[in-house]
Symmetry: C2
DNA sequence: GACTATCCTCGACATACGTCAAGGAGTGTG
DNA sequence: CACACTCCTTGACGTATGTCGAGGATAGTC
């Protein structure tokens, strides 16, 4: 990518037809690509699976940093990526930030790239 | 990523439990992440959608280059990424290479990241 | 053989990305 | 107020990535 990617609001829900439904437009392709890019990292995959397997209360930055063996700065970076893509929800409580997955957003993203579904 | 990612054979079928099924192992996370990374590009999303919407015979490099306004070298690069990730199949015929989507692989990848499905 | 078409590889360039160390901003608690 | 804990931001670093131009390999045509 030679030029900077345009900034897109990814916190809104995904609303794109599946890639198999027809040739996607530029904007839709970029939207999907940015969400997938937020997911396309081994740390973030593990992070998501941990959060998905955790209780409904969610998990904190420190919890995840300890479990993944990375610094809190790095975890904060990854959490930011996932949150900005709308795949993770944050709930502030005192000094703590509890993160929970947005299962609807994940499911919607999955359906977009599934040529079988829908 | 400070150090080079280990090379993994992605041409084989995806065989991972959904991320919501439990905390995924390092290797599985890397496998899924690499496949998603192959998909996490606007050009490759458009490319896939074009190939998915095309006939069963598949499309050639030149066809896609013309439709996307990129050079054949760039298209070759993207096609290589998708093929190496096992998401695209190539069929050689004379000097032509016809590319078709691997719908099963795409569907499998979608199911891995879908917390609703399965 | 000469020419053309298709595809791939290579090298170069600019940009984006993951990680950490250091430090700052809030929010509790004594 | 002082201290501790949690989280985020910034700057720096090495690496990876997308794009192109140039050129090479193979197959088909005249």
């Amino acid at each position: 990518m030679p030029k900077a990617l345009p900034v897109i609001d990814l916190s809104a829900g995904l609303c794109c037809p599946p890639v198999a439904a027809g040739v996607v437009r530029d904007a839709a392709a970029l939207d999907v690509a940015l969400r997938l890019k937020a997911l396309a990292d081994p740390v973030r995959i593990r992070l998501l699976s941990i959060v998905l397997s955790a209780g409904a209360d969610g998990l904190r930055n420190v919890d995840l940093a300890a479990q993944l063996g990375l610094t809190d700065a790095t975890i904060s970076h990854h959490l930011g990526q996932l949150s900005r893509a709308g795949l993770l929800l944050a709930r502030r409580q005192g000094t703590n930030n509890y993160y929970t997955p947005d299962r609807d957003a994940l499911s919607a993203l999955a359906q977009v790239i599934d040529p079988r579904c829908c």
